[in-house]
């Protein structure tokens, strides 16, 4: 058995005892619950402060989107994007990186504009 520092022993021992206590179903007292609520309120205030600070300076780019795409519903946007993604003989599939489930309508419109513009250019080159 190797010689172990008593402070290390106490460290592991109190950690194990703490973990066992954490796993127990003991309900907090009223005072402890108040401490918990205070801490949750503090954390939420800080999270909100960070969120507000995050909103202020946002880098944006302005994209031109054709009126016909702006007029499309979300379902129509998704259907057209899927149609283009599956179009054979093009490299459009590589551009369909946006996940519709996590995209706003604005994102979808920009994505479709990218694809339609690319198609337009391909069409012009083919003429």
């Amino acid at each position: 058995m190797k010689t172990t520092d008593p402070l290390d022993v106490l460290d592991v021992l109190s950690h194990e005892a703490g973990l066992a206590a954490a796993e127990s179903e003991t309900k907090p007292t009223a005072d402890e619950l108040r401490d918990i609520d205070d801490l949750i309120a503090f954390a939420r205030t800080e999270l909100n402060r960070q969120a507000r600070a995050d909103v202020a300076p946002v880098a944006t780019v302005t994209r031109q989107v054709r009126p016909s795409i702006l007029a499309m519903s979300r379902d129509a946007l998704l259907a057209r994007l899927e149609e283009l993604r599956l179009m054979p003989g093009t490299r459009l599939a590589a551009l369909s990186h946006r996940s519709p489930g996590y995209s706003t309508d604005g994102d979808l419109r920009v994505a479709l504009e990218d694809l339609e513009s690319l198609l337009d250019r391909i069409g012009e080159q083919g003429r």
Binding site: K2, T4, L10, V12, H15, E16, L19, A22, E23, T60
Partner: protein, 216 residues
């Protein structure tokens, strides 16, 4: 017509992090962390390693603050918030007397060294947040810690699983190695650990008084 598009993936990452924190910030999770902090602090205060003013409330507050400030890095995809906060509290309270010594050393020889890693940053933060009221001699603290752990063993007599855990700890096993070193199945280990936690509640007040006297 044009559309303004947010192009800031880092911001999206921060938003996701905050959403994960907020989701796990429940009474249930915090009560778990509180039970850990209470038990851990009680034992360390009894041994004189931790000063009484470091109550569970303060330890939890510091762990949450350090996490929100990014000083204690939390990866929501790797570990649950309660486990992370428990880890931070353990770190904060680990070998407090050595940190006090380090603080004193740093005060005397402030080299302005780069402390860019999270661990160092957190250590500095915690150490500086809790400046020493007095520097207790390390040898006395060791003796006090030994006294507390020595008192647990007789209370565990007859409980072979708890004794195996104590043997493994005294042989130098840390949390992740205990099950293997103690040679217990996970369920038996958890039950024995629960009994060990109950045993610590039976430590006599005499021990506390003796410890206080030893490090006074």
């Amino acid at each position: 017509m044009s559309i303004h598009v947010v192009r800031d993936p880092e911001r999206a990452g921060r938003m996701a992090w905050r959403a994960a924190f907020d989701k796990q910030l429940t009474r249930e999770v915090m009560a778990k962390v509180q039970r850990y902090a209470r038990k851990r602090a009680a034992l360390l205060v009894r041994a004189g390693v931790l000063e009484k003013r470091h109550a569970p409330r303060e330890l939890m507050h510091e762990a949450v603050r350090a996490t929100l400030a990014g000083e204690a890095t939390w990866d929501p995809s790797a570990v649950a918030l309660d486990k992370h906060l428990i880890g931070v509290i353990r770190w904060q309270t680990r070998n407090m007397e050595r940190r006090r010594a380090k603080y004193q050393e740093r005060s005397l020889n402030d080299s302005g060294e780069d402390t860019s890693t999270d661990g160092h940053r957190l250590e500095n933060e915690v150490t500086l947040a809790y400046p020493p009221a007095s520097i207790a001699p390390t040898a006395a603290l060791r003796a006090a810690a030994q006294r507390v752990t020595a008192e647990i063993r007789p209370l565990a007599q007859g409980d072979s699983d708890v004794l195996r855990i104590l043997d493994a700890i005294e042989a130098g096993a840390d949390h992740g190695e205990l099950i293997k070193e103690a040679g217990l199945r996970p369920a038996k280990y958890r039950n024995a650990r629960r009994r060990l936690a109950r045993i610590t509640e039976r430590l006599s007040d005499d021990t506390h008084a003796a410890v206080s006297e030893a490090i006074a």
